[in-house]
Symmetry: C2
Subunit: 188 residues, 2 copies
Amino acid sequence: MKANHIYDYVERLGELLRVDSRQAGTKHGLQPVQIEVLHYLAICNRYSDTPMAVTEYLGLTKGTVSQTLKVLEKKELLTKQLDDTDKRISHIKLSTKGKNLLNKVVPTTMFVTACEVLSDEKQSDIASSLKQLLTTLLHANDLKTFGVCSSCRYNSETEGGGYFCKLVEQPLSVDDVQLICREHESKV
Amino acid sequence: MKANHIYDYVERLGELLRVDSRQAGTKHGLQPVQIEVLHYLAICNRYSDTPMAVTEYLGLTKGTVSQTLKVLEKKELLTKQLDDTDKRISHIKLSTKGKNLLNKVVPTTMFVTACEVLSDEKQSDIASSLKQLLTTLLHANDLKTFGVCSSCRYNSETEGGGYFCKLVEQPLSVDDVQLICREHESKV
DNA sequence: TCTTTTTTGTATCGACTCGATACCTTTTAA
DNA sequence: TTAAAAGGTATCGAGTCGATACAAAAAAGA
């Protein structure tokens, strides 16, 4: 029964990252949660760039997310565009300014510094353990996985070397399948 | 260069823990940071139960911590006692109420549920990787380690099977050396 | 087709966090 | 003996976050 140990480590690592992220963000007037929103938007696909998707990913309420997005829009770090077919939905895109800023603060120097003293093999081991813990945590608690398309059961490979999503019934590019999706469901 | 991957996983795990911790705490009117403070006080030794030590551990400012402690004291989850020799310092102890509450919310059910589906061996692997990452992160960035006395270079074993800290020049019990200390320095 | 329900999103309010600054007391250094 | 450093509190403003209320569009039902 190592649940306590694992919890302790994740809590501590999370604290350190949060403190570091706060410090990194302060230079640019950003809060930790704002960095997380920008980070999400940088790695999600075009079906998952909506306020509701951000809400599900971060586990906050839609009101909270709406406020945060409003602030980030005012800072010109992102733009909103109404969906072509569904007028309720808006799509959020990082602006160039937003992308540049994000690259400056993620990952924080703390993590880069630590990884420099670890061998590539060790880093892979750690990444693998983290991935396994995360996956287990999500599945055991019936949480949305937000995985990349290439690991999704709705995704299939076409003859031409491209990809196709059977859920939204749209073709996907090589770049597309490396982004995370709110509809993601792991292959069985 | 896996720094980005590792950062992503830790960020996501931290988010999940924070959301879960918020939910667990809400039932008892506690904020995530308040749970972290209680958690720290439950595992630190008698030389590290001061407001300044909490400040260092959580990476916040002393003003912020002072406020949080004031709230927790009003909730009767902890008590403050002035130090015998140094009148500037106060020692914070969890009350019985505080200990009981903490046991209800840490670790959260999310982690317990996840660990139930993992073998003991897998859990050990993951815990080991997390520990290695944490240790590397702390050392590579010259951060305070807050380790347990048993892994500290100031700690020595006495003939009678007890322990002795060469820094504070005081004997330590078997229970003592399993607590974390703000003066901790890893053995070389 | 018309009505009801659901989904997506915004607005506002209050409790709380957090850093910054100022301030006090006690201890330590000069 | 005086100055500096350390531990701690008080207060303020910007911002998070949940809760509630609300609006508009889409989906479901009759």
